[in-house]
């Protein structure tokens, strides 16, 4: 599957070595593509990561279980909530704590709202990467409306620190449903506008169709998950296949496509945003208004989690996100491994897909894989 790197003779004058990143608007964060180009065609791509390594997994071994909860959200900047949920879920599984039903609904609401916000950011990104800056202005604004909702629900716009082992930190604010519905309506209207100007756009279609095709046989070899695999025709979604929280009580469709190119991936995500709005409306309607939203907790200051190991996964915006945790019965975690989908999507897959495309498309290609370097480097 891995073809040997073509031997290029840089001194021949035919090739140019070009670095895109680690600081570059066309890269979705701090990582670098080392491109070898011939004209504007890319003949070789090497991905470089490590510019953003903050050592979260090691940090977590030096902090108590409650102290880790404000850290994990920082692993993936644009969608911290998945980390919060998975950390809480993995600790709950090891301790046997069960978060109450009301908390499970609020968590689901949170995760889907986060997915929508993250997709809006991405939608702006894919537009901008192909010269559609206006779309970026629209979607990032609407993402901000969602951040307003997060602010009133959790007390913060980006690092919410709201889903805590045992439940959530507070009830939904008064009148939240109304304001959230209002934002959802606005986002929905915006999405139809985006469909007109982006997906029914000659330039966008021309540049994204056929770009970065992931062959179905690559999906499992490269560990591709999420919309990237669904665009290749795989009907796989953890929310449906291994339901967690209250997803088994929600109605939604698993969106798939077959072309598996940048356009198909974008279209799948676009449709998933509509599914997200559909799920959010169900959550707003069905989230219990009464009852506990936190399980009975021990004194968290010296919380000893029984020895054990487990892996908990969830369908995040970009694919399968997972937490593997080993505990030894002490107040500290022995080892945590965070599995972010960007690890597989942004390193090996990008190296493979970039070859044969041209310089102008690398940014769009990378955005179409929806990768976040921060979650590669935990």
């Amino acid at each position: 599957m891995f073809e040997p790197t073509p031997q290029v003779d840089l001194s021949s004058g035919k090739y140019l070595k070009l670095w895109q990143g680690p600081q570059h608007p066309g890269i979705t964060g701090n990582m670098a593509l080392e491109l070898t180009t011939m004209g504007d065609e890319i003949v070789d791509c090497k991905t470089h990561v490590g510019y953003l390594h903050r050592g979260f997994e090691k940090l977590m071994e030096r902090r108590t279980f409650i102290q880790n909860f404000p850290i994990v959200c920082r692993i993936a900047v644009p969608e911290p909530t998945f980390n919060e949920y998975l950390y809480a879920a993995v600790v709950e599984e090891l301790t046997g704590i069960e978060s109450p039903e009301r908390a499970e609904w609020i968590r689901t609401l949170n995760l889907e709202l986060m997915r929508l916000a993250s997709y809006l950011m991405w939608l702006g990104g894919i537009g901008a990467a192909f010269g559609q800056g206006t779309v970026y202005q629209w979607t990032v604004t609407h993402r901000d409306y969602i951040l307003d909702l997060f602010e009133e629900m959790t007390g913060a716009r980006v690092y919410h620190m709201y889903i805590v082992p045992g439940g959530v930190r507070g009830r939904l604010p008064e009148g939240f449903e109304e304001r959230c519905n209002d934002v959802l309506n606005r986002v929905e209207k915006l999405l139809f506008d985006v469909e007109k100007v982006l997906f029914n756009n000659f330039v966008f279609k021309k540049r994204t169709k056929g770009l970065g095709v992931i062959a179905p046989e690559m999906v499992d070899q490269y560990g591709i998950t999420g919309p990237n695999q669904r665009a290749a025709g795989f009907v796989r979604d953890l929310r449906r296949d291994a339901p967690y929280l209250v997803y088994d009580q929600l109605e939604f469709d698993v969106i798939t496509a077959t072309e598996s190119d940048a356009y198909a991936r974008s279209w799948v995500r676009y449709q998933e945003m509509h599914q997200g709005i559909r799920m959010l409306r169900q959550c707003l309607e069905r989230t219990p208004r009464e009852g506990p939203f936190q399980a009975r907790m021990p004194n968290v200051l010296h919380w000893e989690v029984p020895a054990g190991e487990t892996y908990v996964k969830a369908e995040c915006t970009r694919g399968e996100y997972g937490y593997y945790m080993v505990t030894d019965g002490s107040e500290y975690v022995r080892r945590v491994h965070v599995r972010g989908p960007s690890y597989t999507h942004a390193i090996a897959l990008m190296e493979k897909l970039a070859v044969g495309t041209n310089i102008a498309d690398t940014a769009g290609l990378m955005v179409s894989l929806h990768t976040y370097p921060p979650e590669i480097e935990r």
């Binding site: 108590t64 602010e151 007390g155 009830r171 100007v197 939203f293 936190q294």
Partner: protein, 594 residues
């Protein structure tokens, strides 16, 4: 591709006529959401427990002394200082705050010329957001601490009143660990405990099920741990920070949990029995908690100790004043036997002044520690109190402890509101009497332990508050006595003291009982000290006023216990004994660090 794909994108122009999204910040202020996690605020309720500092994962909080802060019990005098170079506004400090004094305001932007302003003490430094009423507060239904105490199994009142079995059953190991787990280890209790026991450390040893370490920690400051684990006045629990939002930690019972799990035979092995003799001797007057505590620590320092005890058994008020349903004899013996096993000699039935002279003690020993306690019941000071059916609470308890029948009859009135009154009342219930307790003030003013008050009521004692005895009269039968008492109204004290009861002469009552038990306090008896010595010693209200290290004006004499402190409880006597032991050691040329 179609023609539509060429035309459709021009739809964007339609948006040119819509209102722009942009907000004119900072021209227009945009306040944070009502729950926004902005800058820290701290209210006056803060007691400086430092739990915020413990939980902060960024070490952004330092507990620092604050100038001008009024000193009050249960307050460390420290306040959280925030380092906004480290803070991540996770608000765990708010979630864990034991007094709920710490909040975040919804203020999130602040510009100042002071480059050091990112370091500030919340609540005391004048910050512009200090009056902010919005911002993150912990939800009422969200807890990171366990607020409810693990209840200890106890005999029901129907069962307890039938005999002298211990009422409190003690924690099981699981219960003790769960209760210990609630502790936040702030150490506010340590300053309040008269003996300054290392409470958080021994609670941790319960949590870790390491009872040997626990026992060693207990004996560093208290050789009466089995006793105090049952009947201590637990001042520590009154300041426990967990009490602000729930129940204080059952510190007293966790002490018992350690002792209950170490058999007496293992004490010498765990605590050590290596006691050298330094050739000097100390005489101790009284084998109560004060005297035996001094004896223990002096013996540990190598002194030969002789204790002179008037009674036939050691323990003092713990033995003769505390009924066995609260403190079983074998538990008191566990403490005392270990002290004696180290070579402390106790001379029983030896009353100083009768069997030996005070002067001979001063002559034989290098120093003398006196802790004779208070064993003389205070008089009621009303007419007719010399009636033979008026008994003293101490006498009743003493008789019961010695297995004698106090002869109280079937219908008893107890006068007083302290622990002796409660003990006398509960003992009388156990002897089958119908008991009425008369107390001058309100029930909440009673100096007795609240548990004692509740349990005595549960066992069927009738508590009559605001009742002032006026006269004792002979009744028709010689075996009975009549008491006249009047209702009292509480009148606020002009000088700011506690309200005082004023007799209402139009509301008088008269009732006949088989006996009246007077338990309104007790005084000391120190006639055995020759008067020329007494002139060298400072007294106030018939109590000693000791100097540094419990020393008196008579240099060789150190004093402690109920007769030398105002708290008059076991734990204070124990600390007096320990403190005096160090003082005697210093006085006799030993190191100040002992």
């Amino acid at each position: 591709m179609s023609l539509k794909d060429l035309i459709s994108p021009f739809y964007v122009w339609q948006r040119a006529f819509e209102k722009p999204y942009t907000q004119k910040r900072p021209i227009e202020d945009r306040p944070g959401a009502p729950r926004y996690r902005g800058f820290h605020m701290n209210s006056e309720d803060c007691i400086g427990c430092g739990t915020c500092e413990s939980i902060c994962q960024n070490r952004a909080i330092d507990m620092v002394p604050v100038e001008g802060l009024e000193q009050r019990p249960g307050d460390s005098g420290l306040r959280p200082r925030f380092d906004y170079g480290r803070c991540c506004w996770c608000a765990l400090c708010v979630d864990i705050c034991t007094t709920r004094s710490l909040h975040l305001s919804n203020h999130y932007a602040w510009v100042t010329e002071d480059p050091d302003a990112f370091h500030f003490t919340a609540g005391t430094d004048p910050m512009p957001w200090n009056e902010n009423s919005l911002g993150y507060r912990r939800d009422d239904d969200y807890h990171l601490l366990v607020h409810d105490r693990i209840e200890m199994e106890m005999l029901g009142p129907d069962e307890s009143v039938r005999g002298f079995d211990e009422v409190m059953k003690g924690y099981t190991e699981e219960q003790a660990v769960l209760e210990a787990d609630r502790c936040v280890e702030c150490g506010i209790c340590v300053a309040t405990c008269p003996a300054h026991m290392s409470v958080p450390d021994y609670i941790r040893s319960v949590r870790k099920r390491d009872y040997e370490t626990g026992l060693r920690l207990l004996y560093e400051t208290n050789p009466f741990s089995s006793t105090c684990g049952r009947i201590c006045t637990h001042r520590c629990e009154t300041v426990c920070v967990m009490g602000y939002q729930g129940d204080p930690i059952a510190i007293r019972f966790l002490k018992r949990a350690i002792v209950d799990r170490v058999p007496a035979e293992r004490y010498r092995e765990i605590l050590g029995d290596d006691v050298s003799d330094n050739g000097r001797t100390v005489g101790v007057i009284g084998a109560g908690p004060g005297g035996m505590s001094a004896a223990y620590y002096l013996r540990r320092l190598g002194y030969g100790v002789t204790v002179y005890e008037a009674q036939a058994r050691a323990g003092g008020m713990l033995r003769y004043g505390v009924p066995s349903y609260r403190l079983p004899d074998d538990q008191l013996d566990k403490d005392i036997d270990y002290i004696r096993s180290l070579g402390v000699e106790v001379r029983f039935n030896t009353l100083v002044g009768r069997d030996v002279t005070f002067q001979s003690l001063l002559d034989t020993h290098d120093a003398v520690f006196l802790a004779v306690g208070l064993n003389q019941p205070s008089a009621l000071r009303i007419n007719g109190e010399e009636h033979p059916r008026v008994l003293s609470g101490l006498k009743v308890l003493d008789d019961v402890a010695n297995g004698l029948d106090p002869g109280i009859g079937r219908k008893v009135a107890v006068i007083g509101g302290g622990n002796v009154a409660m003990d006398a009342a509960r003992v009388s219930r156990r002897m089958g009497a119908e008991v009425t307790v008369l107390y001058r003030r309100r029930i909440e003013d009673m100096p007795a332990d609240p548990d004692e008050i509740h349990e005595s009521q549960a066992e069927g004692c009738t508590l009559v508050a605001q009742a002032i005895p006026v006269e004792i009269k002979p009744a028709a039968s010689e075996a009975q006595v009549t008491i006249v008492w009047g209702e009292a109204e509480m009148v606020a004290d002009d000088k700011g003291g506690r309200p005082r009861p004023v007799l209402q002469e139009d509301r008088m009552h008269e009732e006949t009982y088989d006996c009246v038990i007077a338990a309104i306090g007790q005084g000391g008896q120190i006639d055995f000290i020759p008067s020329d010595y007494r002139e060298q010693i400072e007294f106030k209200w018939n109590k000693f006023v000791p100097g540094d290290y419990q020393q008196t004006g008579l240099a060789k004499l150190f004093v402690g216990g109920d007769i030398a402190n105002s708290r008059a409880d076991a734990i204070s006597a124990i600390e007096d004994g320990h403190h005096a032991a160090r003082g005697i050691h210093r006085f006799l040329g030993g190191s100040a660090d002992a």
